[in-house]
């Protein structure tokens, strides 16, 4: 995950909407954190990309509907082997909820559907997806996941191209803060909304992922990123990178037994 963030840094293309040709020809392995931001950027900017020369990677990208994703439950349910890139739209909340449900269930099944792990799988996905439509001020959100059976872990990425955390705090709470500070406040549970009963989503999801599932968690907003693994939390300024919106990615090992996440609920 650290390597992925480091590799993002030199690219400053994400900040503005301009057409770019992404050269993916030398890709031999892709992860949701690498491929989803690129796909979403292409989708939103009419950018282009050069297909990977590696046939397996190229075919995989086609299979997961890179770069435009699927937004219909019917299309999603046709896919039995791979979890497609899913485009969630604000306009039809019931269709979106069904697509997110299908996505979550497929993620759970890909982890061998161990009874007692449903909550741990569903909690972060549902909380982080609802955050997009509550806070980003954008009408689209994206989710994508891949389970790696040989490595025994699942990578998942959720993102939006909205206003990002710092702008959300500015617009809702009149706080003028840096991207790094905005991430800190989100992790401390300060809701962008005035309601004191809110603000749990990102922080408790990170706890479920890192403490409950022994995974790794990453959040990027604007020019800042936070990487968490176990008890280690590293905040990083990304000087030549600016993601308009929020990217959240996490990696969880395949659970080996039931997991009680209720201690992390607040």
């Amino acid at each position: 995950m650290s390597e992925c963030v480091a590799s993002l840094a030199p690219r400053d293309v994400y900040a503005g909407i301009r057409e770019v040709d992404f050269d993916l020809s030398s890709l031999r392995w892709v992860s949701p954190l690498l491929i989803l931001p690129i796909g979403v950027y292409i989708h939103g900017s009419d950018s282009t990309y050069t297909r990977p020369l590696d046939n397996k990677v190229s075919s995989y990208l086609r299979t997961v509907y890179f770069p435009h994703g699927v937004s219909s439950v019917v299309t999603f349910k046709r896919e039995l082997n791979y979890i497609p890139i899913s485009l969630l739209k604000r306009e039809n909340s019931i269709e979106r909820e069904r697509l997110a449900s299908s996505f979550s269930r497929m993620v759970y099944k890909s982890l061998k559907a161990i009874p007692g792990t449903e909550n741990a799988v569903y909690y972060p996905i549902t909380e982080l997806v609802t955050n997009i439509f509550e806070h980003s001020k954008k009408d689209e959100g994206w989710i994508f996941a891949q389970f790696y059976p040989r490595k025994n872990f699942l990578d998942l990425c959720i993102l939006d191209r909205g206003r990002g955390l710092a702008k959300a705090y500015l617009e809702e709470q009149s706080l003028i803060i840096s991207d790094c500070r905005a991430i800190e406040l989100a992790m401390m549970g300060l809701s962008v909304k005035a309601d004191t009963e809110r603000g749990y989503g990102i922080r408790t999801s990170k706890r479920v992922i890192c403490e409950g599932l022994n995974g790794g968690f990453l959040i990027v907003s604007g020019s800042a990123a936070l990487i968490c693994k176990g008890k280690k939390e590293k905040l990083i300024r990304l000087p030549s990178f600016d993601w308009q919106g929020v990217i959240i990615a996490y990696r969880i090992p395949q659970p080996r037994g039931a997991i009680d996440i209720t201690p992390y609920w607040e």
């Binding site: 909820e97 979550s104 449903e118 569903y122 401390m188 989503g201 590293k234 300024r237 609920w265």
Partner: protein
């Protein structure tokens, strides 16, 4: 669209069938609110049979919805909830009555991007 039990009994809204089996977003609870508004019955049973999971955010919105309709003399009941859904609803309701105020420390190590490249 919604299957209602007539003849004076409470109206029943099947959540999994009419909405989704995993209830994550606040938006969808607001859609449910619009459906409740259209019912003329004073008792509404929200049937959670085949609902696998309710997020904390959706549970919070459901609790707010129940409170709102109680003020307008319409009773909302959550029925056939599985153990986890019931736990989540109770947790949110309890937290609303008696919030847990914890001071949250968050002190990440601030590192440079170059240090990550060396990992």
């Amino acid at each position: 669209m919604f299957r209602a039990m007539k003849n004076g009994k409470p109206v029943k809204i099947n959540i999994a069938e009419n909405f989704a089996p995993i209830l994550g977003s606040r938006d969808v609870v607001r859609d449910l609110d619009r459906v409740i508004r259209k019912t003329k019955k004073n008792l509404v049973n929200l049937d959670f049979a085949k609902v696998d999971f309710v997020s904390r955010s959706a549970a919070h919105e459901l609790v707010l919805l129940k409170e709102k309709w109680a003020r307008r003399l319409k009773g909302i009941s959550f029925i056939n909830t599985n153990e986890d859904v019931a736990k989540m609803l109770r947790l949110v309701a309890a937290s609303r009555v008696l919030p847990l105020r914890k001071s949250i420390k968050f002190e990440p190590e601030v590192v440079s991007i170059k240090s990550l490249a060396r990992v």
